[in-house]
Symmetry: C2
Subunit: 225 residues, 2 copies
DNA sequence: CCAAAAGTGTTCCGTCTACACCCATGG
DNA sequence: CCATGGGTGTAGACGGAACACTTTTGG
């Protein structure tokens, strides 16, 4: 079993946040250029070191809040990355977290202050260290889970049209979906509620706005698209 | 982005191995009693600290080899666990790895030397720290992946009968499977090869032995049970 | 001869897929 | 009046689930 602490070496642990957003019917990733060595100037995920008095989740939440001003963001651990030389400076193990945010909730001024950009996931540049691998793993995770967990709503405003929702699925899965089949399946899910409201922004005719009823889902947490 | 190292604190990082085996048609977990403080005497997973000159995977492999004498064990990361007080002694972040081994390959003398036991996953005791959560997460992971990845063979000898294979699925999924439907599906998978050999140990009539053809799978890595 | 496990097909039902046209409105 | 996106149903294919009896042989 575990042996005494002092005989062993300690390492730095960081969290890296893989922040996805949805805009122009594309899945986007929030990245910026590193402001410090090693890797100054390279494209990178946003991250930070884990402090002694915070859990991994707390650290990821702190970094995300610092970054977006938002609290209670949907977040899931992607995994720990621990190759010896993954950080060119020192031994740093990093735990990657995937976050989904609604771009509209995110103050764009804050984005610019941090020097960050939304980049289409189909046009990602080479990122610092192993960050591309982290992103790839996060996308695979989303694809596996999107049909069995209500993830997609985190990328949309509280009120959304079915076409928007469909575009989220298409962006994550990377393939087109038949509109009629998609809507048929949605109708069977009772916690995706149709409201009386009509969205007139995206079409002339107007589209019904829907809402994800969190309470109803919490009472009966089963999801299968 | 990441800031300079020295301003930040370091932590201990350990790996914990969730070792599954299959025996008596049950899924079993390898656990032992802790030989040191904190938590001396409690049931626990087997683990060890990550050294400065090894990756997380290397550390997990080292611990597994130390434990079983086996090399090239099937292994997958379950996740990083980082609650502040998860280790009662010091701040230790642990990365859990799930391993699948064939009990027959494992020298039972070595097991006893380490004071370890195979315990039915339906009869797990309370484990040290957050180890029960790790195990639960590993089982959920297996259940999700067993139908899309060729995991099950790692729990069996090279040659196995279809009934044995079916029992592995039943043990992991926790539900009974129809024999005829199961065999129908297996027949469609061409890298599960029927051999000429007959197993006479488990039945009077004798059952055909099958083999997982790794090369054939590597050439065409698609799996759907 | 019998207990115990191996092996084998068919039918039914529900689910997924493919597919095309009318509607409402702003400009 | 027309371009744009919203909204709707059906038929055929396919895959999954239910289901029971015969075979072999060691003891």
């Amino acid at each position: 079993m575990t042996q005494y602490y002092s005989e062993h070496s300690q390492v730095w642990v960081s969290v890296d946040c893989i922040v996805f957003g949805f805009e122009d019917n594309k899945l986007k990733l929030l990245i910026g250029r590193r402001h410090m060595d090693p890797g100054r100037g390279e494209w990178s995920l946003y991250g930070g070191f884990v402090k002694n008095d915070e859990s991994l989740e707390d650290a990821a939440n702190r970094v995300l809040q610092d970054l977006t001003g938002l609290n209670k963001i949907y977040m899931k651990q992607v995994g720990a990355f621990g190759a010896i030389d993954r950080d060119p400076g020192e031994r740093v193990i990093s735990v990657a977290y995937c976050a989904l945010i609604n771009v509209k909730d995110y103050d764009d001024k804050l984005r610019k202050e941090h020097g960050l950009q939304w980049v289409d996931i189909d046009e990602l540049p080479k990122l610092y260290s192993d960050h591309n691998i982290m992103v790839q793993k996060a996308i695979t995770m989303l694809q596996r889970r999107i049909n069995t967990e209500p993830l997609s709503f985190n990328l949309l405003p509280d009120l959304f049209t079915l076409t928007q929702l469909q575009h989220v699925y298409e962006a994550i899965l990377g393939e087109e979906i038949d509109k009629r089949n998609f809507r048929k399946r949605i109708k069977q899910i009772d916690f995706i509620e149709k409201t009386e409201l009509i969205d007139k922004l995206t079409s002339k005719r107007g589209a019904a706005l829907y809402r994800f009823n969190k309470k109803m889902y919490a009472d009966y947490p089963s999801f299968k698209l």
